[in-house]
């Protein structure tokens, strides 16, 4: 399950994002499970904070704003950016226009 960082798409923290309408989120003690009914893919969020970020994306003007509101420290942003990039790559989240 290792992930090759160099193959991850770039993720713009300063644009608006949202959870895909086809995705369900199931809270778990480790974070959450995500399921995309369109692609039929499962994914998981490995921390409750990341779940708060993902669920809050639609309510903030930028992904950075959603991260900060969820309590992510500035020095942790790169990790969350990488996690969000993975989610964007699998269409769990998408850019809002």
């Amino acid at each position: 399950m290792s992930t090759d960082l160099s193959r991850r798409p770039r993720f713009d923290l300063d644009t608006a994002w949202a959870l895909s309408p086809q995705v369900s989120v199931r809270p778990e003690r480790f974070g959450a499970l995500l399921y995309h009914f369109g692609t039929r893919r499962l994914s998981f969020l490995k921390s409750p904070v990341l779940r708060t970020v993902v669920e809050g994306l639609g309510e903030h003007d930028t992904a950075r704003g959603a991260c900060l509101a969820a309590g992510v420290a500035p020095e942790e942003l790169p990790r969350y950016q990488a996690a969000l990039a993975t989610l964007a790559g699998s269409h769990m989240i998408g850019e809002r226009s």
């Binding site: 199931r26 480790f30 499970l33 009914f37 499962l42 994914s43 998981f44 969020l45 490995k46």
Partner: protein, 391 residues
């Protein structure tokens, strides 16, 4: 994020409040009699869950946020209320992936399936040629499956699954299966033959040889995530790099089986009273069985590696498949019968085959064709397949 949480695999081994997904065999009735059928299907069980009872289970799955069910059988589409139940599930946010031998996939059904985002289809096929397939699944079953695939393709259904149980006779056809999947805009899914159900009777002669197993592993490594496996080859991780997926046994922890009469088993390959957790008809329904059954609570406690603990590969293969061990008479805390280090073969040689547990119950047709026995079903899904990690 500041504390180090347990690795996800370990979280899963401790069990979740609800399965990630589950297998639901809707009926033991089947038009085929595959020689390796893991649920010994054939005849309908008169105690089968009614339509209302099935809907109540779906309501529970929705409340538990089980995202999807893998419906199998038997041949699930022979239930008269099958399509009604599929619609009920998807209307209640429970996605459906169902396994079929294709017998009911007419052009009209295919068009209807292609129109739904929430239904996925797996066509079972155990040979890339009629000769190899029909020897296992019964005469004519190859043509039935191919006709169903053609209908799905013609209807514009992209990405349906072609589900193959790997045997000694079809493992050399992997490239042909892949080409077939590509031709139909489908996806190839291959799973492991288990000695479950009628599979116990043919496992010795059909399971892949050690040499084939190595070649299969190399083939899977080369094809990566383009080929689905239902996570069923995690015992091969002992060769080296893990295959895509979580590589753990999810039985009673993140997956389970509901059988046609509502019995809940730890996994689709473990239909035996030793792995029976309860019944959805009992008070508290499925949720109570899942959350409080003694069997599942035991499975969710840390397991001992037993005879495998001292093996360097144990962290990779975790001792392999519980059902494969059980139905070949091996101890559950020892090596898998197909252990890549050869320890399972040695254990098997020492096992008294007369004491091997018999799969139960048997719903086989009473008169099997003499030349070829037939149907297998695809059922078997490890819900963890296709899981992608977001960190």
């Amino acid at each position: 994020m500041t504390t180090a949480p347990l690795p996800l695999v370990e979280q899963f081994q401790l069990g979740l409040d609800a399965p990630i997904c589950l297998t639901w065999e809707l009926t033991y009735a089947c038009n085929l009699s595959c020689v390796h059928c893991l649920s010994s299907s054939g005849r309908r069980d008169p105690r089968e869950l009614t339509t209302a009872e099935c809907k109540a289970v779906i309501d529970e799955l929705e409340r538990m946020q089980v995202f999807y069910v893998n419906i199998g059988g038997g041949e699930p589409t022979v239930r008269p209320d099958f399509w009604k139940l599929v619609d009920y599930a998807t209307d209640h946010h429970v996605g459906v992936k169902f396994s079929t031998n294709g017998v009911k996939i007419t052009p009209a059904v295919a068009r209807r399936l292609a129109a739904s985002d929430y239904v996925d289809v797996q066509i079972s096929l155990d040979g890339a040629t009629a000769e190899v397939n029909d020897a296992v699944r019964g005469r004519g079953s190859y043509d039935t499956a191919l006709r169903a695939m053609q209908h799905l393709h013609d209807a514009g259904f992209r990405g349906f699954k072609i589900s193959v149980v790997m045997t000694r006779h079809n493992v050399a056809q992997l490239d042909q299966f892949k080409a077939m999947a590509d031709r139909f805009d489908a996806q190839l899914r291959i799973t492991r033959l288990r000695p479950s159900g009628r599979g116990a009777d043919v496992w010795d002669e059909l399971h892949v040889t050690a040499e084939q197993q190595r070649a299969l592993y190399d083939w899977l490594v080369a094809h990566g995530e383009n080929v689905l496996t239902g996570d069923s080859f995690f015992h091969l991780a002992g060769y080296g790099a893990a295959l895509p997926g979580l590589n753990l046994c999810g039985a009673g922890r993140v997956v389970c089986l509901i059988d046609p009469v509502g019995d809940v088993y730890a996994c689709p390959f473990a239909i035996h009273e030793n792995f029976l957790a309860g019944n959805v008809r009992s008070p508290g329904g499925f949720a109570a069985v899942w959350r409080t059954s003694e069997l599942f609570e035991t499975l969710r406690t840390p397991q001992s590696g037993g005879a495998c603990s001292s093996c360097a590969a144990y962290d990779a293969c975790r001792g392999g498949c519980m059902a494969a061990k059980f139905f070949t008479g091996l101890p559950l805390d020892g090596p898998d019968p197909e252990c890549v280090k050869g320890h399972g073969a040695q254990s098997l040689a020492r096992t008294d085959r007369a004491s091997v547990p018999k799969p139960s119950p048997d719903h086989s047709h009473r008169l099997l064709p003499l030349a070829v026995r037939a149907p297998a079903k695809a059922c078997d899904e490890n819900p963890l397949s296709g899981l992608a990690n977001a960190f």
